[in-house]
Amino acid sequence: MKFPIFLDNMSTTRVDPRVLEEMLPYFSEEYGNAASRNHPYGWKAESKVDESRTRISQLIHCDPKEIVFTSGGTESCNLALKGICEIYREKGDHLIVGATEHRAVIDTTRRLERSGFRVTYLPVDKTGLADLEALKREITDKTILIALMYGNHEIGTIHPVTEIGKIAKERGILYFCDAAASQGYIPIDVEAMGIDLLALSAHKIYGPKGIGALYVRKKNPRVRLAPILDGGGAERGMRSGTLNVPAIVGFGKACELALAEMETERERLWKLNEKLRTAIESSLDYVHLNGHPTQRLPNILNMSLEFVEGESILMGINDIAVSSGSACTTATLEPSYVLIALGAGVELAHTSIRFSFGRFNTEEEIDFTAKRVVQTITRLREMSPLYDMAKEGIDLKNVTWKRE
């Protein structure tokens, strides 16, 4: 086993050697600009880019021409939201956005609010599922866009996108779906799901960092989008800038592999997921699964291990790379808003830990991790005044705390 064991595949993944191999020539021999129309260097680059476009389109069931390359998931979300708002402003000024969306969506809609748009943040239930009845109620004749992700990046809960797409279509509203966390792990069919815009990212599926895409529907309806970058009008005028050919090649290959291996990999990842969950649950008390028990991405296991703070858990299991929703582990020093949105109290976030599995993880690594987690939590709980209190039968909610 290689240490630290990498169980943080939702943050990023290792580039698959098959992906890297396919990329390499496009740094050296085949360095043409895909926009050069008058010589073989350009032609070769363009034809390889087209092949990648096709591979990506096959993963999500769209026309290759509907793929717009961006620098990654964050840019795709920005482009979708800002691009739609600029074009459709005349039609309406209201957006409906999931409360547990990625920061690339939430921070963007916060900015849009400052420039005059009205945004409704749709609450989720305790498993992280959006309330679709509330969605229907919140729609007004000024609503131009619904933004609800597919699988959630922190807890893995999978939204019923087909139903959401249907609601959007019935009311003539565009549906933007962020699939950066779920692409390649569960099937996507933008046609069947009624999705109008879809955000993708390569480095979550063993492709390189710095490349992503936005699917933009071409018909029924034809979605129009204002660019956020000006300069030359590449990508059907929606995203200027010289195409990052090697990265695009890697992205295409990564999609091809993800599609080919999805079924077997999905099953394997669920097995690892369940193995770790049951090992932890059978050895420790006061543990909770965060997210939906079954309607969840196969590669995410988010648990709260009560009475032990997340950063201390990470420090205790320092030979395993994972992440936590605890305030102490975030750049903003705010606990995870995704976990808070589940409504079970902020303590849930402080004591949370997210394991995310990937193609290169083995059963042996999971066994090691389970043992290490149980050991560490047991040790840290011996130091925890809260664990003592819980054991004495004191309800922590009824205690008066001396806050700083």
């Binding site: 420090m315 205790g316 020093l333 902020v346 303590e347 130091m383 003592d388 001396k402 806050r403």
Partner: protein, 128 residues
């Protein structure tokens, strides 16, 4: 963020974990922080002739909070309660090389020391 050697040492080998019977008359207990803030510190002192002869802690919090309370128990032992009351959070910051985002851990430790000493003083005055 990487941790200083001293923080790691206290985290991996915490000193004086445990509890004293809080109703004993020569024991002072200080509990500060709140679960929803992500840290709760419990410091206890055992006092004889105004000298802290033993100290214990239990902490829910990050590694720096655990290290700060572990260090606090070490520093309190052997001091008089008046001396312990003078321990400043800045001394803890310096000793553990805490980065700015972790200063609140040292503040919490200072508060816990003061709370434990005050609890002991109150008991003494009440004569329980």
């Amino acid at each position: 963020m990487s941790y200083s050697q001293k923080v790691l040492d206290h985290f991996n080998h915490p000193r004086n974990i445990g509890s004293f019977e809080k109703n004993e008359k020569n024991v002072g207990t200080g509990i500060v922080g709140a679960p929803e803030c992500g840290d709760v510190m419990k410091l206890q002192i055992k006092v004889e002739n105004d000298v802290i002869v033993d100290a214990r802690f239990k902490t829910f919090g990050c590694g720096s909070a655990i290290a700060s309370s572990s260090l606090a128990t070490e520093w309190m032992k052997g001091r008089t309660i008046n001396e312990a009351f003078q321990i400043k959070n800045t001394e803890i910051v310096k000793e553990l090389s805490l980065p700015p985002v972790k200063i609140h851990c040292s503040v919490l430790a200072e508060d816990a020391i003061k709370a434990a000493v005050e609890d002991y003083r109150k008991k003494k005055v009440a004569g329980v």
